[in-house]
Symmetry: C2
Subunit: 388 residues, 2 copies
């Protein structure tokens, strides 16, 4: 790496880490999850304000490593049997939570006189829940290991898979003007088959790996092999048409069922503490605050549409929570499905590139994604059921 690039990277990494921990601490002191502070400091440090954390390839790579390690850790903390037990309600929550925001987003965009293709893309961008944000908040407020937490997590995973299928379908729609139902079904089938296959193959493989490294003499074999396992699972998930983070999560689920679960959690905790904040800071840094200025007339169409999208985006996911059953706090589940995070931003960027999203629609989607992301941590904290 040439010295100039290294300088930029070292500074951005260090500043992002310090900012994340400082603002995370401030957020905690005012009773909010730390991740809210990390998102906020990202906006502050990002290119549109202080410019101390530019979104270079290096920072985005560290952010990617961070979110993969985070989902791996979340998987390690999740009980697979309990997760499968809530499979049915989670799937229903996921599907309802995609249909309602899609319909709402489509109607709002049509009402603002955009073409149907744009409205389809906007609706699609509102469908996917961010596992990263939601699992981080659940972990912070101690709700990962509850029935509500597992339904949210299961639904978010299903959502992420379905969301990428939706992306494939709408991208094809934009490119060719028609939708191949076969393509969509194949993509969906492939993703779910991967997850199933990863669990079926992964469970014995994980045990084998753990047994294999037991006799090793070199330092740090367990942590290194576990991370390699997570990276390969992430790769497999991506190649199967799903998201890399879903693979990392599956790897964690699998290794959680070995007798080294706690060793792995202890070993990898600090690594996650160092890398995951960069992901949340980088998400915040992608918000261009100039779009928020209502006094600039050019921003107003986008801001108005954004308001409608936020309303439909929050309410649609929130309502989905009420499709869950059993002895659960449904409002909490709904709140957990609200954040769109990185997945929504990916939709927005692709839509801008392929021409489906004209500038005001693009900005509206980005703003709606941020609003749903920022509103989630306090919402979940407020709706958290009393310890039962």
């Amino acid at each position: 790496m040439d010295p100039g690039e290294l300088t930029t990277f070292l500074l951005a990494f260090a500043v992002a880490l310090l900012g994340a921990k400082l603002f995370g601490e401030l957020a905690e002191r005012i009773g909010q999850p730390a991740v809210l502070g990390e998102l906020a400091v990202g906006v502050l440090l990002g290119p549109s304000l202080l410019g101390l954390v530019p979104l270079t390839a290096g920072i985005l790579l560290v952010a990617e490593i961070g979110v993969l390690l985070l989902l791996f850790e979340v998987g390690l903390e999740t009980d697979l049997e309990e997760l499968l037990r809530v499979g049915a309600p989670a799937l229903v929550v996921a599907v309802v939570g995609m249909v309602l925001p899609f319909a709402g987003g489509y109607l709002a965009t049509r009402a603002a006189a955009f073409p149907a293709l744009t409205a389809v893309f906007v609706g699609a961008a509102l469908t996917a829940t961010s596992i990263g944000i939601t699992s981080r908040v659940l972990s912070e407020i101690g709700m990962l290991d509850t029935r509500e937490g597992r339904i949210i997590l299961g639904a978010a995973v299903a959502d992420d898979i379905l969301g990428l299928v939706v992306l494939a379908v709408v991208s094809q729609l934009v490119a060719t003007g028609s939708v191949g139902v076969g393509t969509a079904l194949r993509a969906a089938g492939l993703s779910f088959l991967f997850l199933l296959g990863a669990l079926v193959i992964g469970l014995p493989l994980g045990r084998l790996l753990v047994r294999f490294v037991r006799g090793a003499r070199v330092r740090g074999v367990l942590a290194a092999v576990a991370v390699a396992f997570a990276l390969l699972a992430a790769l497999g998930a991506q190649e199967a048409g799903s998201a890399a983070i879903v693979g990392a999560f599956a790897a964690g689920l699998v290794l959680a069922r070995t007798d080294r679960r706690h060793d792995l959690q202890n070993a990898l905790g600090p690594t996650v503490d160092v890398f995951a904040p960069i992901f949340f800071v980088s998400i915040g840094a992608q918000l261009d605050v100039r779009y928020l200025n209502p006094f600039d007339a050019a921003n107003r169409p986008a801001l108005l549409l954004a308001l409608a999208l936020v309303a439909t985006g929050v309410l649609g996911k929130f309502a989905a929570g009420f499709s869950a059953w059993g002895k659960v706090r449904r409002s909490f589940i709904g709140a957990g499905m609200v954040p769109r995070g990185e997945v929504g931003l990916i939709f927005a960027q692709i839509g801008r590139q392929n021409g489906a999203l004209p500038e005001p629609a693009f900005i509206a989607v980005v703003l709606a994604v941020f609003a749903t992301t920022f509103v989630t941590p306090p919402l979940l904290k407020a709706l958290k059921p009393a310890a039962s």
Copy 2:
């Protein structure tokens, strides 16, 4: 990051990690330090053989993070007072260990009928010891916390600083045909001043940081703030004309003097285990094995020169060990100064770019750098003094 790039990166990262641990384990089983296995598997997985670990920007970034964290950890394991106590012999070893290989490299290159400028660059490329390799082996064989280990470490740090000064001087010589003594002295002074300043400012700052994070509520503040501190020190060192790893080492030295030293070692150990191997694999991956084929007549001038450079490179550093004094095993110190590692490769690449090194001279330098690097782990292991 686009999906194709992410795929390449995930695969290379995972394969490098698994390969490093597997070959590290094999190296241990045949009585060698694990790092030798990591270097060897790098050659095997690198672009010139299997091509499974391409040297992309992503892998090089992870390697850079790895070596910075490694040197930070080595600093945490090093006692500053003890290090300063061996300052005088370390400095003498460093200077002698630069003069002898420089002279030997110059003469060997001249004898092979290369121009004087090329000979100066070759000599210069043989001067700098790789802190990364040497400190990793010292740590593995339990010799970091000995008088020999500290002399090697101190000399390697001095060497790294002086080596970059030498690089600045010879680069200027190539570019302008003359050497500014003022420039050289200023560069050397600046580097040493930075190290001194880092320690003087760093010691109270480190204590302050540790006190500051004590009351924090968010998870992982200590590890994250310590890493940010190391990154900033690395940045400072680089800006002062020294190497980033020297700054990371200084940050470790400073934080080792706080009461959280052991917490930091425990927290960051697994992170180092995951990232540092990528550095050693990436060093191995930079060797193009085609140059090693003596049956290709085109390789022979380079191979012959390489043999001469290896001889002078090993003997020069080895002899430097005998300039140390006190009750130490001088042959062990000499062996610890032998590896050239990444610093030598940087010299070679710059020499090729600025025209000082014609192709055979470039190849000879690269081969000599690898030979000195590969010979060090077994050499140190063999010469290790019995526990006293």
